[in-house]
Subunit: 213 residues, 2 copies
Amino acid sequence: MATRRPTEDTAAATEGFRPRVDNRPEQIIGIACRLFAKRGYEGTSLRDIAEEAQITKAALYYHFPNKEALYHRIVLDSLRALIDSVRAAVDAAPTPLEKVRQYMLVSADFMDADRDSWMAGSNAFWMGAESEPRTLAIALRNEYETLLRSCIADAINAGEFRPSNIALTGRFLLSTLNQISRWHNPKGAMSTREVVEQYLDMALHGLQATARA
Amino acid sequence: MATRRPTEDTAAATEGFRPRVDNRPEQIIGIACRLFAKRGYEGTSLRDIAEEAQITKAALYYHFPNKEALYHRIVLDSLRALIDSVRAAVDAAPTPLEKVRQYMLVSADFMDADRDSWMAGSNAFWMGAESEPRTLAIALRNEYETLLRSCIADAINAGEFRPSNIALTGRFLLSTLNQISRWHNPKGAMSTREVVEQYLDMALHGLQATARA
């Protein structure tokens, strides 16, 4: 695994006490994000992150007082970026059905662009309920899910979707999305978007061959 | 969290060296299964398991030489039981489409009956590739997935399903199943089976209102 080592990083033992190292927080976030995505929150220690970043724990503490703060920052940044790009695409789509499609496809693009970031955001919700950084992350996750549900409700009201349990329909679609990072190889033959295009065809038109009466 | 403490368990410091305590391995497995399901493999230590079981680490080592062995046993037992019940239902179903339905519904029943066991088995595949107990578990997981794919292939060949990428269709259906334990409250209004019945309606008939031409 490649580590991003800044060129000025030669006095590792003392550098933590410099008042500013411009891109250090971003470097730490990038490394932590990759480790959280790979090993999960519980499986990643501050020591792991400091070692991978080739800095002292003191330098790490200077930027992030504890693991929760670091994780918090990563998850919130990821979710905010995801929601912003999905919402822009939904707003631009002409019909409720197309809004649902765009929601799914732009989420797929987000996964294609930054898999670690997606996984860190996605894994956040499967942590124990007692975990500290959850509250704000859950508010963002709710915002993300609520956006899909409102598109589904609009599609039903417009007669484009069959009537259904809206919350369950949202979970149905999000389930397919959330599991992709568990099996899909980003370097494989299909992009996440291509997978989701096929999923959308299945979900919208159904697997069964005969048209409904 | 209730712990199952055997009545004879009064001399915790020495009992580990008794040659046989009949149901001790099952007790340990039940506790470990619950902890693995709740905290994941990495987040659960042998110390946690011994404490919850109110036995010494020596007693735990007597039955399971390490965490891998314990996890291995739990995952393999869970998956074997899941596959056996799903296969029996699939064999009894009259048509390929009904086999797909039974596959999903009996998996849901398995989740309803023993959520911890399902989660331990399900989580096993999301562990890092370097984890020891994975090989046999992956063989069983492949057996489980292959069974669904063969039902899907039969449904396509029988003209009951539209032609599709069979592997991707299997993942599509399994995604909805795998995510349930992440959000569904077993004590809530709907059973897992009821959720999966609605999912099957969506997946088989599609969300879109208009019948395909």
